[in-house]
Amino acid sequence: SQLAEENPWALSVHEGESVTVNCSYKTSITALQWYRQKSGEGPAQLILIRSNEREKRNGRLRATLDTSSQSSSLSITATRCEDTAVYFCATDADTGYQNFYFGKGTSLTVIP
């Protein structure tokens, strides 16, 4: 079963606009991570947010975490064409960090 799930499945925005991807997860976690995967490449980590944090920023990226609702969001401001990618959230379950679960991803297209 999927322990982390992003929504929406896909979305598109025009360059310069802001966009938010949401993630829901099903287990208690020690941390949640957001990754970006461009076509033909391996995923690259964007932000790691720990369970005792509520918000984390990295340049144009902002991640939030709400452990009570088991949800997270990743916002990108001033989008660029190079932000076109699949965005995954992934969790370390607190029952065993060796098992790391990715969602199915949100496909983001930034239109020039």
């Binding site: 999927q2 980590q45 790691l48 990715f102 991803g105």
Partner: protein, 112 residues
């Protein structure tokens, strides 16, 4: 700086033929190593992980096996490929619990 190298970059193999994919980590001692598989357009499925040389844990059964012959090397293999083995294979390492993953650039496999 740590580097992760996967080989080969891509393979086209016949059903029933053997397969060996390699992954090497440089610049990091005793890393936790992982193999992931990704179907086209799909999520990342963890296959194996290894905390130390000679020890490999299986996460899912896909008629594949993995070995860690050296501290910096992780091998994925099978004696008989199936059509369902097609996909994108990614090697990753991490320091430990709560840390981010670093992925290799992946091996694209097509089984025909």
């Amino acid at each position: 700086a740590q580097t992760i190298h996967q080989w080969p970059v891509a393979e086209i193999k016949a059903v029933g033929s053997p397969l060996s994919l390699g992954c090497t980590i440089k610049g990091k001692s005793s890393p936790n190593l992982y193999w992931y598989w990704q179907a086209t357009g799909g999520t990342l499925q963890q296959l194996f992980y290894s905390i130390t040389v000679g020890q490999v844990e299986s996460v899912v059964q896909l008629n594949l096996s993995a070995s860690r012959p050296k501290d910096d090397q992780f091998i994925l293999s099978t004696e008989k490929l199936l059509l369902s083995h097609s996909g994108f294979y990614l090697c990753a390492w991490r320091q430990g619990e709560g840390s981010d993953y670093t992925f290799g650039s992946g091996t694209r496999l097509l089984v025909i």
